[in-house]
């Protein structure tokens, strides 16, 4: 059988890769991809904990939380990409540093 901490280590590694991408990536679409990677890492953690600790008790909260994260990820991707396309149309750029019209 696969030990639980293998899943947790994989999720931690995936989360750290995503975090690195979110902070350092210049392209806004790349930032969005990295955010999706971080959400996937959280999903792996939730499902692994649910499977190993709660699947016998009939407690379904872990699975419901994963469904909600799926929906939030889809909504976030749709709104984020719409904003990127809208900004690209006005400024002809997707570089996050150059979209600064709200800067004080």
């Amino acid at each position: 059988m696969i030990p639980l901490y293998w899943y947790l280590l994989l999720a931690a590694l995936l989360f750290c890769i995503g975090l690195f991408g979110v902070i350092t990536r210049k392209n806004a679409v790349g930032i969005l991809i990295s955010i999706e990677l971080m959400l996937n890492a959280a999903n792996i953690n939730l499902l692994a904990f649910w499977r190993y600790l709660y699947s016998e008790t009939g407690d379904l909260r872990g699975q419901v939380f994963v469904i909600i994260i799926f929906v939030v990820a889809a909504a976030e991707a749709a709104v984020g990409l719409a904003m990127i396309i809208s900004a690209y149309r006005q400024k002809q750029t997707v570089v996050a540093n150059e979209i600064d019209s709200m800067k004080g």
Partner: protein
């Protein structure tokens, strides 16, 4: 080492390496395709956890919808940063340090939790039935309220993204 562990290690290696490639690759379309590979690897991880419903949903929602959306956005926003300029901002080295510290902290906190080393999955095939989840999602004493709230969130996001991305003809000069 059993077969399951071998499959897990292969899938984990695919996930981590393709995630790394999708974060670091120069062309955005390559990053999006590596991202698809990482998502498929995560679906394999879900299948190993015996939550096959989520493996299918992962392929449908992430690979089928979100990745396609990202590929479309990449194609609509071409000629940005593709061959010229740096892909990363000035904080790369600092971020590498921060991320390594966070990862080391996570590994340390896992190490200091002794009962996690011996934990194995229980075998309960009847609890993994997807019908139980469906009933719980719609039952009034279950998760009906969060379910409806997420559907309202999805509707709001749909309307909002159409409004934001809509090209207004009269305002264009």
């Amino acid at each position: 080492m059993t077969g399951m562990q071998l499959i897990f290690l292969i899938a984990a290696a695919v996930v981590v390496s393709s995630a790394f490639m999708s974060v670091t690759s120069r062309r955005m379309i390559h990053a999006a395709l590596w991202f698809v590979l990482a998502l498929l690897g995560v679906a394999v991880i879900y299948a190993l956890l015996e939550v096959s419903f989520f493996a299918v949903v992962q392929v449908l929602v992430y690979v089928g919808a979100i990745a396609i959306l990202i590929i479309f956005a990449t194609m609509l926003t071409r000629r940005a940063l593709e061959d010229h300029g740096k892909q990363f901002n000035r904080a790369t080295l600092m971020t590498l340090v921060i991320v390594s510290v966070i990862f080391a902290g996570l590994v340390f906190s896992l190490r200091s939790w002794p009962q996690i080393q011996s934990m194995t999955a229980p075998l309960s095939a009847d609890q993994l039935d997807v019908g139980v989840l469906g009933l719980a999602l719609t039952a009034p004493d279950g998760f009906a309220l969060p379910f409806e709230v997420t559907s309202i969130l999805l509707l709001a996001a749909l309307i909002g993204s159409i409004y934001v991305a809509y090209e207004r003809k009269e305002k264009k000069k």
